[in-house]
C-alpha cells in the first residue's frame, strides 16, 4: 500500500507494525485536517455555502472568495507590507548576523573577551517588553517598518551558532589568503561567505519564517491600519470577530458569507510557507541539529 516491495523490507508486517502505522497516520491526519478544512471551505461557492454543514471537500467549486479578498485593498496592502518586511528584514538579519559572527569568531581581536559574554548575556536576560517599547517609540519608529526590523536585527543564539560554524572553516585557507595580501574584509567575502552557503540557507529560512509569522511587535508598533502586516490583518478578521460568535456585520462583506472569505485569507497567508516548504523543511531540520551542537 505504501511502497513497492523493496529489499529493506525484510520481515512481513506484524500486528505491531499495523498499530504503529495507524498511530502515525492518525497523528498526520490531525496535523493536516485543519488545513484541508480551511482549503475546502475557501473554494466553496459563497452562495452555496451552508454554515451548519461540515465539508471536507469543496462543494460547488468557486474562486469567488479569493477574488473578493484579492480585490480588497486593505488585505492586499497588508500582504505587500509583510512581503516587504520579510524580504528587507531577512537580508538585514543575514548581513548583521554573519558579519557579527565573523567578528566574534576571532579571539585575537582586542575586546573579544568582553564582547562575547555581553552577547551571551542577552541570551538569558533582556530588558523586557516595556523598556524595549519605550526605546522604539522614543526613536520615532512608531508605524515605521523599521520598528519590525531593527529591534530584531540579530540575536545571541544565531550569532553563537554562526560563529561556531565559521570556526569550523579551516583557518589554513584564511592564512593562505592573508599571505596573498587579502585583508580580513577580503577573507570574509572571498572565503568565509562562499563556504557558509549551508549556514546562510538555514538562517535565511529561520529569519524569513520569523518575519512572516511575527505578530507581537507588529501589534504594538503598527497602530495605523495602513501599516498592518498580514498576521494583524488575519487576527482582526478572524480572532477578533469570532471569539463570541462570528457574526460581525460589515458593509464590505454583505454579499458573501464571512466564513469562506476568512478561510481564503488563511490560505493566502500560509501559501508562501507551503510553496517554499520543501526548502524550509530541509534547512530547518539542519538548523535544529546545528543548534543542538550546543544543546
Amino acid at each position: 500500500m505504501f511502497a513497492p516491495k523493496a529489499k529493506y523490507v525484510r520481515q512481513r508486517m506484524t500486528l505491531g507494525d499495523y498499530l504503529n502505522y495507524t498511530g502515525i497516520i492518525i497523528f498526520s491526519i490531525i496535523c493536516l485536517l485543519p488545513f484541508l478544512y480551511v482549503l475546502s471551505v475557501s473554494f466553496t461557492s459563497p452562495k452555496e455555502y451552508m454554515p451548519m454543514k461540515l465539508i471536507l471537500w469543496p462543494e460547488h467549486f468557486s474562486l469567488e472568495s479569493y477574488s473578493f479578498i484579492i480585490n480588497r485593498n486593505s488585505f492586499m496592502r497588508s500582504m505587500a507590507n509583510s512581503v516587504f518586511v520579510t524580504l528587507v528584514g531577512t537580508v538585514c538579519n543575514l548581513a548583521v548576523t554573519f558579519t557579527g559572527a565573523y567578528g566574534i569568531s576571532k579571539k585575537t581581536m582586542p575586546g573579544h573577551k568582553f564582547i562575547v559574554p555581553l552577547v551571551t548575556f542577552t541570551l538569558v536576560f533582556n530588558a523586557g517588553i516595556v523598556p524595549n517599547f519605550l526605546l522604539v517609540r522614543s526613536m520615532g519608529m512608531m508605524n515605521s517598518f523599521w520598528a519590525l526590523i531593527l529591534p530584531g536585527l540579530t540575536n545571541a543564539w544565531s550569532l553563537l551558532i554562526v560563529r561556531s560554524f565559521i570556526e569550523g572553516i579551516s583557518s589554513e585557507l584564511e592564512e593562505a589568503a592573508k599571505m596573498d595580501g587579502c585583508t580580513e574584509l577580503g577573507v570574509f567575502f572571498k572565503i568565509i561567505l562562499p563556504l557558509s552557503k549551508a549556514a546562510i540557507a538555514t538562517f535565511t529560512v529561520l529569519f524569513m519564517v520569523n518575519h512572516w509569522n511575527a505578530y507581537f511587535n507588529a501589534m504594538i508598533y503598527m497602530t495605523s491600519t495602513d501599516n498592518w502586516t498580514l498576521p494583524l490583518m488575519i487576527k482582526s478578521m478572524i480572532v477578533d470577530s469570532s471569539a463570541l460568535g462570528g457574526a460581525v456585520s460589515s458593509t464590505d462583506e454583505k454579499t458573501v458569507p464571512l466564513e469562506t472569505i476568512k478561510m481564503a485569507a488563511i490560505v493566502l497567508s500560509i501559501a508562501p510557507i507551503v510553496i517554499t516548504y520543501p526548502f524550509l523543511q530541509k534547512y530547518f531540520e539542519k538548523g535544529v541539529t546545528l543548534g543542538a551542537v550546543k544543546g
Binding site: F2, A3, A6, Q11, G16, N20, Y21, I24, F27, S28, I30, C31, P34, Y37, V38, P51, M52, L54, A95, V96, G100, Y102, G103, T108, M109, V119, T122, L123, F125, N126, A127, G128, V130, P131, F133, L134, L150, P151, L153, L160, E184, L185, F188, V209, N213, Y215, P231, K235, V239, S242, L244, G245, I270, Y277, Q281, F284, V288, T289, A292, G295
Partner: protein, 304 residues
Amino acid sequence: MQRKESLASRIFKHRYLYLLSSITLIYFAVFRYAPMWGLLMAFQKYSPFKGFWKSAWVGFDNFASFFKDPFFFVMLRNTMVISFLKLALFFPLPIVLSLMLNETRHKKFRSVNQTIVYFPYFISWVVTASLTFFLLSSGIGIVNKIFYSLGMPAISFLVDPKYFWIIVVGQTVWKETGYGTILFLSAITTIDLAQYEAAEIDGASRMQRILHITLPGILPTIVILLILRLGQVFDVGFEQILLMYNSSVRDVAEIFDTYAYWQGISQGQYSLGVTVGLFKGVVGLVFLLASNMLAKRLGSEGIF
C-alpha cells in the same frame, strides 16, 4: 620578532574586523543594553510628564505592592499550571512519536509522515489561533456544528475558563510535537546498530529492543532537554496566550508577560509594567542558570 604587540597596533591590525562587526556591536549597545536603563523605572514612580530624571524614586515599593496584589498569585498559578501541563502532556509526545517513526519499515512512509507532522510548526500563532476558532468557536466552530446537527446545545469553549488550559496545551501539541521529534530522531541515529543485531540474535522482541536499546540510547538527550525545558518554566508562550486571551478567561489566562503588556503598554503604567517584566526576567534567569548548570554537570555543553 616582537613578543607582545601594543594594543593600538593590534586594534589597527583588526580594523576591518571592527568595521565588519560594527553594526552588530552598535545593535547590541542600542537595542539590547540601552533599554536596560529602563529597568530603573521599576524603582520609580515614573511619570511620563516628569520624565525619567524627575520622577520620584520609591525603592522597592512597586515590588511590594505587586507581591501584595492577590492577582500576583493568580498569575503565578497560571504560569506554573500551564508550564506543568505542557511539560507533562506535551514533552513525552515527541519522544513517543520519534520511537514510532523509527520503527517504521518503509522509508517513503516515514519521510512523508515526517513532512506532514513538521508542517504545523511553520504556521504562525495567529493562524494557529484562527484554526482553533474554526474548530471551537460557538458561531463557526466545527465542534459546535456537530453538536448542532446532533441537536445538542452549543458550548462556548473559548470563553469558558474551564477549557482554556487544555486548549492551550492542545495547540502546543498540535503545532510542535512533530517538530520536537527532530532532535530525538537524530539522537537515535547515533545508537550503535551492533546492539540491535546482538539483541536480535538473543531473541529480544521488538518492544524489548525499544525499551532496552533505543530508549536508553536517547535517554541523555531526553534528560538534557527536560532540564533545559525546566529552565524555561516561566516562558509559557506569550503570543499564544495573548491571542487566546479574552476578558472571560482572564483568571486562568493572565501570565506575567500579558500583565506587563496590558499594564505597561496598553494602560501606560510604565513602572508597573517594568516591575512585572523585571520580576519575570530575574526569576527566569535564575531558573535558566540553574538548569544550564545542571545540564553541564550531566555532561552536556548546555546552551551557553
